[in-house]
């Protein structure tokens, strides 16, 4: 090569090296060592999915709306830290031995005393009349998508009202009858009583979530409360006593809340909360890494985009893929099961059902299908409510399963050539894989009966489930309130929602659950539910596949947070955004286009020097 060409080459290399050093220097100077400022220090930005259906606390019954409402509208109780224990919130903790309420000796009348001086954010007083207004409004609206049915059979007068034709029409006769019974009675400004139809030990727990209070004045100014009908204004704009006030709700975009400067308790450190609805996970993740979002919803299916897979699957250890954020997995009061419908053969045969229970590969389901984001239940009640690992439960045991199936076959429950379908609602990947797992396990036993899996779009799924046309299908239950009765009654009592749907009726279980509903001693209740859970397991009505967990993922400048098994999402009232000494920027590396160039050029420099 000529001298001129050499000089040109050297010159070009020098220029490239200088540029690369400049870029690398800029990068190294600015990114890893610079402690990022906390963006939007007084505003929490959450990116999530699942927009609320309503913000009316009179009928909101889903977690998306509830997680917003709990900041605006408060109920009588709150949950104590990370536990399911209820503590007085709007109630006067100096009353009733610290509980804020007393119970009559017959267990039928609850007397509540409210704190004084609390106002709704529109200035209206929060008092006994306001509570009565809210409770009655909830019952009289009786939105079938709401939660008024929780009080069916519990509060005086509610059963009759709910059973009558009271939705989509104002049934004045029933309204008058309900109000005349005065199930909620005002004693004085701050004291009121609720009368039950029967003693019900979990009643106070029930009030932990429902109802949350809205300002009666606000409702009256905006269309009022019409029995049998929802209120479209209130659906979109609640006014409560909570630490935040509603600002706006732009559909499919965001809900904005601002701090309630007149809050009766310690003011929130955050001035504003913005909840953005972003369906696409990668968009949420980019915003999270860039600091534009403080907290994002991470579904279990995307968990390994954020934490190390092997560390979690093998050691249950959370190792974030990058520094700068926290990823937490905590209990959540929910469970899932495969329900067997005794109205359809061979599910009416107990041995067949027991065979199904032992044929399900629980460890494989938990590890491979749910990626260990669930735990195997002991009974129908999640362990966060009933921490009892002595309840006998079926385990994966193909040999034992075969014994049961053989017994069922001998009894004529099924014959060679029979087919059975396992159903799940379309779009639910965990249920699809769980159904396939069960089908494969049973088919591998070569019993002569063939299992297939069929997905149904969920409108059809709903219709067939309610028409009792499906022999076995996936179900799930999330806690309405933090009490074991909410689960065990649903699954085990013959009048419970799931049990009634599939013809389950064990008088002994009914008796145990009925006793548990009135028993106030926690130890005795636990024993009753232990026995009931054991019997339900023994009767083989369900394959209890897993108890839920909730995933929380937030930037490291968010402090003072705590998960709660009853509340979904991050309870934002306590959250504080502040710099930490160990705070780092999230470095995911320079662009993939630049990195190889820099690496190769830097590697070339020593050779050039030589």
């Amino acid at each position: 090569m000529s001298m001129a060409a050499n000089k040109k080459l050297i010159g070009a290399v020098v220029i490239i090296v200088l540029l690369a050093i400049g870029v690398a220097g800029y990068y190294y100077a600015y990114l890893p060592s610079a402690k990022p400022l906390v963006p939007n220090p007084e505003t929490l930005i959450e990116m999530t999915i699942g927009e609320s259906q309503t913000l009316d606390p009179g009928w909101n019954y889903e977690s998306a709306g509830n997680s917003v409402l709990e900041l605006i509208c408060e109920g009588l109780f709150a949950y104590d830290g990370t536990t399911t224990k209820i503590v007085p919130l709007l109630l006067d903790a100096s009353y009733g031995d610290g509980k804020g309420y007393t119970i009559s000796s017959d267990g039928l009348v609850y007397t509540f005393k409210l704190k004084s001086g609390i106002k709704f954010s529109d200035g209206a007083p929060m008092d006994a009349n306001a509570y009565k207004y809210n409770f009655n409004r909830m019952v009289l609206m009786n939105n079938p998508q709401g939660y008024s049915s929780l009080f069916y059979g519990v509060v005086k007068g509610v059963t009759r009202y709910i059973e009558a034709n009271t939705w989509g029409v104002t049934n004045q006769t029933e309204v008058d009858a309900y109000l005349a019974g005065e199930p909620v009675k005002v004693i004085d400004d701050l004291t009121f009583q609720i009368t039950l139809e029967m003693p019900y030990a979990p009643f106070a727990s029930m009030l932990g979530n429902y109802p949350k209070l809205i300002s009666p004045a606000w409702v009256d100014q905006n269309g009022g409360s019409i029995p049998g009908f929802a209120n479209e204004v209130i659906d979109r704009h609640p006014v409560g006593t909570g630490p935040f006030k509603f600002v706006e709700w732009v559909p499919k975009e965001r809900i904005v809340l601002e701090r309630n400067e007149d809050y009766w308790g310690p003011k929130a450190s955050l001035q504003k909360i913005i909840i953005q609805y972003v369906d696409e996970f990668n968009t949420r993740l980019l915003a999270f890494y860039a600091g534009d979002a403080d907290f994002i919803y991470v579904p279990a299916s995307n968990a390994f985009d954020v934490i190390q897979k092997d560390a979690w699957l093998n050691e249950q250890k959370i190792v974030p893929l990058k520094a700068g954020y926290t990823f937490s997995v905590d209990p959540y009061l929910s469970n899932a099961a495969l329900q067997m419908n005794t109205y359809i053969k061979p599910m009416d045969n107990k041995d067949f059902r027991k065979g199904m229970q032992y044929a399900f590969n629980y460890p494989e389901y938990i590890k491979s299908i749910t990626n260990s984001f669930t735990i195997q239940p002991y009974g129908a009640v999640p362990q966060a409510l009933l921490p009892d690992t002595t309840i006998p439960r079926p385990e994966y045991d193909p040999a034992k399963a075969k014994e049961y199936f053989t017994a069922a076959k001998t009894a004529g429950a099924f014959k060679d050539g029979d087919k059975l379908e396992i159903n799940y609602n379309a779009g639910n990947e965990v249920r699809r894989l769980g159904s396939l797992l069960l089908a494969d396990s049973v088919n591998a036993l070569n019993l002569g009966i063939t299992f297939t899996v069929q997905e149904l779009d969920w409108p059809s799924y709903l219709a067939k489930v309610n028409a009792r046309e499906l022999p076995i299908y996936f179900i799930g239950w999330g806690a309405d309130f933090a009490d074991a009765d909410n689960f065990i009654f649903t699954y085990g009592h013959s009048a419970g929602y799931y049990a009634a749907r599939t013809g389950y009726n064990n008088p002994e279980v009914d008796s145990l659950i009925d006793q548990g509903r009135v028993e106030t001693d926690p130890a005795k209740r636990a024993k009753l539910y232990h026995d009931a859970s054991a019997l339900i397991n023994e009767d083989g009505m369900y394959i209890l596949t897993g108890e839920g967990t909730q995933i929380t993922c937030f930037r490291d400048w968010m402090t003072n947070w705590h998960p709660n098994p009853v509340l979904s999402g991050l309870y934002r009232y306590d959250v504080v955004k502040q710099e930490r000494t160990d705070q780092v920027a999230i470095v995911i590396g320079i662009s993939p286009l630049i990195a190889p160039i820099v690496t190769n050029v830097v590697a070339l420099v020593p050779r050039l020097r030589d």
Binding site: Q53, P251, E253, Q276, E280, N282, T283, G427, Y461
Partner: protein, 349 residues
């Protein structure tokens, strides 16, 4: 037939089209799904008792014969009540359309303009430099667009122009949405027409005007790029056809510059098939580019309609279908009128 009469006749023909579409859509929606599903969420499905489901059915007349339900629906439509969209948190369908259609319209207009701005010149370059490097380069550029999954392309745009620039502390483009909400709140911006670019100008809010345009860049480019190939290739082939015509040879032999030959004589005729494609593309984009809207969190018709279909939200499906039918018919009408403008030989009617 005069253009005015032609347009009026075409608009009248819209009515039987809409009736036919409403009938087919209504019937199919009821046959495929259970109308009650629109009133329930997947979460509530396992908590709501059969008795309470019956209450909903009765309250909304879902137990009536289907022909009666259709009759009630049409009479409600004529009175301006298009029903409630369960997929949009129980808002009136008309409100949902009023919100999402302008958002999609705004995005679509910019995307189509970008498509034409890129596709037509590419087609001209390809045709005038056939089989040479510019033709090959244009082909590669445009075919890349049609080959790349729009979903992935949108994510790469976000990663490059939002995230990478942001971590390098350089000015970056917005990640998602239509406007910076903090800026909008701070400057008192509010929607008037639903077209944020227009609304910001009407309010004299230049900060939001610029911000709205910045928010449009990435999603409109993602949408435009996948359609460029269609326009570019159509333009190329029609331009090649036109350039072979005798009048072009005559124009050249008269000594006109190539620029004049192409842009004054050839382009207008070559545009005719391209206009058809552009019109159809506009209608298609207006129906909602679901993937792009999802990635960029653009609150448009695509996201809303997809949610409606997945939840069997019949009122929303019907409303969406009727609106898009009107859009397609109008788009076709505009294309036909444009034909007459571009080629005086074409007579309307």
């Amino acid at each position: 037939m005069r253009a005015r009469d032609y347009i009026i006749r075409r608009l009248f023909l819209l009515i039987p089209v809409l009736i036919g579409i409403s009938l087919v859509t209504f019937t199919l929606s009821h046959m495929i799904g259970d109308p009650i599903a629109a009133y329930l969420t997947e979460g509530s499905i396992e908590k709501i008792s059969p008795e309470r489901i019956q209450m909903i059915i009765k309250a909304h007349g879902l137990d009536q014969p289907i022909y009666l339900q259709y009759a009630y629906y049409i009479s409600d439509i004529l009175r301006g009540d298009w029903g409630i969209s369960r997929a949009d948190a129980n808002r009136p369908v008309t409100e949902s359309i009023a919100r999402y259609l302008p958002a999609t319209f705004e995005l679509t207009i910019v995307a189509v303009l970008l498509t034409l701005a890129m596709g037509i010149p590419l087609g001209i370059v390809s045709a005038t430099r056939k089989d040479r490097l510019p033709d090959h380069a244009a082909r590669i550029f445009s075919l890349t667009g049609v080959s790349i999954p729009v979903f992935w392309f949108a994510l790469m745009l976000q990663f490059t122009f939002f995230y990478t620039l942001k971590v390098l502390r350089l000015p970056s483009l917005p990640l998602s949405g239509r406007v910076d909400q903090t800026l909008a709140a701070a400057t008192g911006f509010h929607s008037i027409t639903g077209f944020y670019v227009l609304d910001s100008l009407l309010q004299g809010n230049m900060a939001v005007f610029v911000d709205a345009i910045l928010h449009l860049i990435l999603p409109s480019f993602a949408l435009a790029y996948i359609s460029v190939a269609l326009i570019a290739r159509m333009m190329r082939s029609s331009m090649l056809e036109v350039l072979k015509q005798d009048y072009i040879t005559l124009a050249r032999s008269k000594g006109l510059t190539e620029r004049v030959v192409i842009y004054r004589h050839a382009l207008k005729n070559a545009l005719i098939p391209t206009v058809t494609i552009a019109g159809l593309a506009f209608g298609g984009l207006l129906a909602g580019a679901v993937l792009t809207e999802s990635v960029f969190n653009w609150p448009g018709m695509g996201r809303w309609s997809t949610g409606a279909i997945l939840t069997d939200d019949i009122a929303a499906i019907m409303g969406f279908t009727l609106v898009i039918a009107v859009v397609y018919v109008l788009a076709n009408l505009i294309v036909d009128v444009l034909y007459a403008f571009l080629d005086p030989r074409i007579r309307l009617g």
